[in-house]
């Protein structure tokens, strides 16, 4: 985050949020309800079905996982945010130094682009419905573009989203705010219509793994996925930037609005869409069906509008944030240039269905890479003094690069990604061990490296 941004946006990016700028609880409840009812929810529910989750896994797994996510926001993120009142970036800069924040920004910006790309893909499945057979919709197994019409559709959507993000996302944020209650009801309507078409409201009977197939996700998989699909935001501390405006840490409970509406009701309703297509239309659950045609079949044009708006309102701020992250790395480029770069990467990513169609894996990898850095902030905030390590190391030593943070972050992430590749471990199981390992390593390395630095300095005297 640049100094320029602070002056222009007056978002207190390099100062604690003052008392006069604090917000009441309703701002947080509304924001979380809106932000976590996105176009990608139309993918995640059906993907659970494709992976063979049962009704028990979904109903109770999501209940527990979302509860754990809310507790993480409430007792980690909101607590630290309301005491420090700083953004993640500035707080990290005080601990790790400016250069390491740039590296974090690079990963953050790229992963934001891929996430926004997944939303472009989902939106394209809705925009493509009127084109009929001239566009081949991607299935869950597709990784590459499905044809020229598909590419043109994605490029057009990506260009439109980038254009709006460049203009500033005020208008889109306003549409997102207005859409939130309507979007949730469209998700609910999809679920109710599907129950009507299936002729049963018995979820236990309706949602079960197809016969003779092995389930790729069980109860604990659903728990860990729903807990860590936003790992970068809660245990990764990205939402310090949001909760620094909260008057009290108990506003952290507002995350429940996003979790239990967007990540519970909406996911289960979206899951029912694929259940219907598998049972009544003979769709192959492993290949799935693109969200656009399923939603069109369920609730018609209103559903297609919902898919586009849900994707658009979440992708735009994501492109905007990615642009700011790139601008943080190259402070000389303008915000517009940063946003255009982010938009280009996002649009290209959107053309490839791999990110959206393998969203469960992608979201897990996203959390595995970004969330461990949050452990450094937790250690610095709660444990540094007790364990005898320097608080806000970079600020105190005027260092631009804290090697202890880099190693503590890179080693567990590299190990986690290797385990994912070598042993095919679902990546949503990895953020927690990586986060814990990062915290432990940071303590050990800080003690070790700081002692050797003090020793070197003493010898030099």
């Amino acid at each position: 985050m640049s100094h320029e941004t602070q002056k222009v946006g007056d978002e207190y990016e390099r100062t604690p949020v003052p008392e006069s700028a604090l917000k009441g609880p309703s701002a947080f409840w509304g924001m979380y309800a809106g932000e976590h009812t996105a176009g990608t929810e139309f993918m995640i529910g059906p993907l659970f079905v494709a992976w063979g989750a049962s009704a028990f896994d979904l109903i109770f797994g999501l209940l527990l996982g979302n509860l754990l996510a809310v507790l993480s926001w409430r007792f980690l993120t909101a607590e630290i945010a309301t005491r420090q009142r700083l953004t993640l970036y500035y707080q990290l800069e005080k601990i790790s130094g400016r250069h390491l924040v740039s590296l974090y920004n690079l990963f953050n910006g790229l992963l934001f682009c891929f996430l926004a790309g997944a939303m472009v893909t989902v939106s394209a499945t809705a925009v493509g419905v009127p084109f009929g057979d001239s566009i081949r919709m991607p299935s869950f197994s597709d990784k590459l573009p499905t044809g020229p019409v598909w590419c043109i559709t994605c490029l057009a959507i990506g260009a439109a989203m980038t254009f709006v993000a460049v203009r500033g996302y005020g208008f889109v944020a306003r549409v997102g705010h207005l859409s939130a209650p309507w979007m949730l009801l469209i998700f609910l309507a999809c679920g109710v219509v599907m129950l009507g078409k299936l002729g049963s409201a018995n979820l236990w009977e309706l949602i079960k793994p197809p016969a003779a197939t092995s389930s790729r996700i069980g109860f604990w998989g659903v728990v860990f996925f729903s807990w860590f699909c936003n790992a970068a935001m809660h245990i990764g501390m990205s939402d310090l930037s949001i909760f620094r405006f909260a008057r009290k840490p108990r506003y952290g409970w507002a995350s429940a609005a996003g979790m239990f509406l967007g990540h519970y009701v909406a996911w289960i309703c979206a899951a029912l869409l694929l259940v219907y297509w598998v049972r009544e239309r003979g769709a192959d659950p492993t290949k799935g069906v693109a969200p656009g045609p399923m939603v069109d079949d369920a609730v018609g044009m209103a559903g297609l509008i919902c898919v586009v708006i849900a994707g658009w309102t979440t992708a735009n701020p994501t492109i905007y944030r990615a642009g700011l992250a790139f601008q943080g790395i190259f402070p000389r480029i303008s915000r517009t240039a940063g946003t255009v770069i982010a938009g280009l990467v996002c649009t290209l990513a959107g053309v490839f269905p791999a990110f959206a169609m393998q969203l469960l894996d992608f979201v897990g990898i996203y959390g595995t890479i970004l969330s461990p850095i949050g452990a450094v902030i937790v250690v610095d905030h709660y444990l540094a003094r007790r364990l005898g390590i320097r608080e806000r190391y970079a600020e105190q030593t005027k260092s631009r690069f804290n090697l202890a943070v880099l190693l503590a972050w890179a080693i567990p992430v590299a190990a986690g990604l290797w385990i994912y590749r070598a042993y095919n471990v679902p990546p949503f199981f990895l953020p927690l061990p990586c986060w814990i390992a990062c915290g432990v390593l940071y303590v050990l390395l800080s003690k070790m490296l700081d002692r050797s630095r003090i020793g070197t300095a003493a010898q030099g005297l």
């Binding site: 705010h177 109710v192 209103a302």
Partner: protein, 57 residues
């Protein structure tokens, strides 16, 4: 406009879910259900900015 919105916007929200329930109980067909949802969507976006506090910010 604000008074009209206070009446129409909640009705539009109701119009987004009630037709789906009626369809599930086989009281209306798919066509009327989808059409009502679309009209409710248009009505919601036309009136919600005036109804929702802070919606125009």
């Amino acid at each position: 406009m604000k008074t009209i919105s206070r009446i129409v916007a909640p009705l539009a929200l109701a119009g987004t879910i009630i037709p789906a329930v009626l369809f599930a109980f086989k009281l209306i067909g798919a066509g009327p259900m989808k059409l009502t949802l679309l009209l409710a969507t248009v009505a919601w976006f036309a009136t919600a900015p005036f109804w929702l506090e802070g919606g125009d910010r």
